[in-house]
Symmetry: D2
Subunit: 340 residues, 4 copies
């Protein structure tokens, strides 16, 4: 095994050339492992990086995408966590193992796969074993590939930071990849889930997945409906998946001393909301930037224990990556995955 095929771009922006290239692999030395990619899960962010670079110091040819699942084919002499044949998934922030986030106020953390670090759309990679977690045993590679970013973001918000428990009321905004993981994770813990969407069809699918209450965004004041359904209590947890610009509805919906997790990929956006709600109800508003490897390992355990199956909207072949990217713009219900 000496070379790998990979999707790559030569620059960011509209002029970029997206093509399949080939690259020589590093030796499987010290604590490195050779992994054969089986599936790559796409995120909206992957498009932004390719289109704008997001201010990151990319190296070209640049390989996009951050999340994959694969199989260990060989291990270096110092490797202790994996052996050939092990199924693995990548980590989004490879250097963040546990505890406090990296970076500082001046230079917030930015060293992620498919950004500062090369992406995962290669058939093979040779990287430190520290960059991987074991994959769950109960899902296929495509499903496993959705955990490192979308799955972990929802888990980190609701469980690692949020301490969600049975009977909690969880409000989830939307039906994208993170939102559906939020729904499934909340249900796996016995919570009561309220989901909002502008699409009646997506609300129906969310209810089929386990959501307790569907709140149509087209149907009058949905916060008032939440109040009615909860006897005024509100939501213990809100997953605010930012597409627009404001926290106003989340701050109205949140319970006293509740928690709003702000999730999203954005440049230039502002979050804003009424100070009175923030002061009187004293909720926590917390930005979420995916999570660390220890939490990902916890999510993997939970997936295997609870039988949670990630929701995949569309599976494409390796060669169909450009079409898969297009599909991201159509508001998929769940994830878009490339299978190798």
């Amino acid at each position: 095994m000496q070379t790998t095929r990979q999707w790559q771009i030569d620059m960011v922006g509209p002029e970029r050339k997206l093509a399949i290239g080939e690259r020589r692999l590093e030796p499987v030395s010290s604590n490195r492992i050779l992994v054969r990619t089986e599936a790559v899960s796409l995120n909206f962010r992957d498009r932004l990086v390719m289109e704008t670079g997001m201010g990151l110091p990319l190296q070209f040819p640049f390989v996009p995408a951050s999340d994959m699942a694969g199989v260990v084919e060989a291990v270096g002499p110092d490797v202790t966590r994996f052996k050939p044949g092990d199924r693995v998934i990548s980590t989004f922030s490879p250097d963040w193992i546990d505890g406090r986030g990296l970076g500082d106020a001046r230079t917030p953390p930015y060293k992620t796969r498919g950004g500062f670090y090369p992406g995962v759309l290669s058939q093979y990679t040779v990287l430190s074993e520290e960059w991987y977690s074991h994959a769950p045993a109960t899902v296929d590679a495509a499903e496993a590939s959705t955990l490192p970013c979308a799955g972990l973001t929802a888990w980190f918000a609701l469980i690692e930071r949020g301490g969600l428990k049975a009977g909690d009321k969880v409000l989830i905004q939307g039906t994208g990849g993170v939102a559906l993981f939020g729904l499934q994770i909340a249900k796996a813990h016995g919570a009561e889930v309220f989901i909002t969407s502008g699409s009646a069809e997506k609300l129906e699918r969310a209810v089929a997945l386990g959501a307790d209450h569907a709140l149509s965004r087209n149907d009058g004041d949905w916060v008032e409906r939440l109040y009615s359904l909860t006897d005024g209590y509100g939501a213990d947890h809100v997953l605010e998946i930012v597409g627009g610009a404001h926290l106003g509805q989340a701050l109205k919906a949140v319970a006293v001393n509740g928690r709003i997790s702000v999730i999203g990929v954005l440049e230039g956006f502002e979050v804003s909301g009424p100070a009175a709600q923030l002061l009187l109800k004293a909720p926590v508003v917390q930005g979420i930037s995916v999570g660390h490897r220890r939490a990902l390992e916890g999510l993997v355990r939970a997936v295997d224990q609870t039988g949670l199956k990630p929701v995949i909207d569309k599976r494409c072949a390796f060669e169909e990556f450009p079409a898969a990217l297009e599909h991201l713009y159509r508001g998929p219900f769940g994830k878009v995955v490339i299978e190798f």
Copy 2:
């Protein structure tokens, strides 16, 4: 003792008549205690309530102000926590003893002294013993009267919710009553304090009180100065004492996984800030609505143990209440207190 003199208004708004009135006291029955007021500490909110009512269902004649210190003169037969002669302070939210805040999403907590409940500007009151905490032994009544709202707000933000520890970097915006408590509480725990102000003289006084670094708001980019002074790290805790409208500087200043406590009295204001900082650094942004009695009792212990002396800008006599109210608008350095 059958009657008490008290400051009162007959309505809210510019037409209101502010005058000293007289009222008959309730009997000292069941778990009630008769308290002789020694000092009342004023807050900016007291003016807002008198001017606008803040949407609260006030009862007239309405007695303003929420924070007092006094002496127990008699106790009802079921009283167990106090005896005559005990020095006490009031609680801001009398029904909130510990744990989660009261109210719900539809009706956030609003039952506070000097608002829904009558205020404290009376020479005597007869109320449930549950509405009081013991006063600290090491400060006078005027100083003690500043704890229930301004002192507890800073304590709740930094200690009860914030878990501040020695060596933490704390950014405090301004030099009002809550800000100076924040400064003193942070220093009592061995933290490093950065204080911002537009007034060079106030910055000097803050440094004399123990602030480690003075950041003038008139002097270029003070967040950049904070970065320099902390080698880019930022602030573990930010006390954002809202007078204006946005969180932008606080979100830039906060450290990775740090904490911004939003404090203030406001109607109609919005909080807003850049989503990128909130997402990448994943801080907690938390509204603070004063705090519960158990935390106030903790603050009282801390004041006695550390020798912290609340900063009083101006002491006025009972009859000077109107002048004291005026002084609130002059941007006092610390608290304005009425002594009986």
Copy 3:
């Protein structure tokens, strides 16, 4: 309604006379509610109190038992939380609403129902509304009556203090009332449950209830089996339901930085275990003394949301209380309940 029938004793100890008596009820004034009892759940502690008094200052005639479910029949003029017809359950420590426990080091908390306060084995009671929580809507009165002590103890240990999450490994010692609640609560949160017992039949029933792994105490080194089943990881949470005297097995079984909740009713017993395990793995060992009303309300929400059905081993009629007490000594699988 002016009188109530009740089970009562005239003294503690073997000489005591246990009989049905009659008592005049208090007026339904101020914040009191009149509740008609529908079911009372028994605990092993009820026997200890009747036999030894457990050092408590009991008032005679003493009414035993701490946990009940019933229906509100009338409310006093100041009642705000209930209305006639509401189904309610009692609270074990009526004064503990939320937050830190009551009492102090010299005088630990002891003011509980069926002890310092009169018990619940009366057909009617008139007490403060603060002493009750709403009952769950989805279980019958007998099932609801098991929540205030056995249910809340397991919930407080695993959820309120333990922050259990899906995928966690939970070791539960035994199959009594608290143990089975622990099993059901853990499963409702997606955890993996290991249960120990000396009875093959009880282990089978526990597995039927959802336990993932049955560890027979008669079958060699069950800690070693736990190690094998978890690839050496151990248990994130251990419910150590003390009947004997030592923590040794729990300390061996617990994962690094895991949690051991010590539960039980005991006089004179010692807890003990090897210091090396406590130091090297740095777990938390925490005594659990039931819990506060806010947590009980959380458990009620969880029961309704998840469909959890408390396990009742035996239902007896009001007149069969002496036989029900006997049944407590036979090691019931779940709870023993008196139905009115």
Copy 4:
């Protein structure tokens, strides 16, 4: 620089030969740094390792001791955290950077310096930069060398796990290295410190260091004295530095919902105490096994900010290591340090 002098033993046990040896240094490649040792701080554990091996797989010749301070003399090409001239301190568990402890239930964490990994009594070492933290700027090398084990243990117990705050009551058992750090750290956070000892002279020195109350172990029931001094409240935090065998006094002394940190080096000892105290007061009892690098970095910040000066009982020269070891058995008041 190619060789280093070091203290070493050729086997464990009474037959061992302790001598100064010489060793060739590794190249300063990849992320390694060459550090010149300036001071080594000794712990009681160092004697145990040399005498018994403590069950660890030691490599011979074995270099003892775990804690040092020194200066970076050269850095490998991949080093990012240090530059030549930086003052550094070692970490006790080099692989534990943040978050959850390493190891598992079957094999608790044991990979520490001066044990599984070679010790620090060498004039030079070449090791990964990950194994070091920056030293505080305000203390000398001897003082800095006491932080990695004794200092961090007290900090981890009281601050990282304990969340100590001003006004808290802290009971510290003894006057050894960890105990005095506990005293100083607690005082730096505004706490009230109670210290126990059997030596009147040591109690006097502890009071001179800032302890608020000295409790002589020879002087009747010291727990009763603690009750009197705290009006029955007890201690929020207890540092139980295990030399003997039981938790009984700590469980009596601890406040309701307080915390007992169990600290020590022991083989074969049992911890034990009365179950009633553990159940009724529901404290946390937590083993402490030093701590992670992120917490050590927090302690370093705190030392610089608060001016805390570690207490050194005796300073010895490199050649005096055997005498310094002897001194450890004399119950030093603070630390014993080797200066190079």
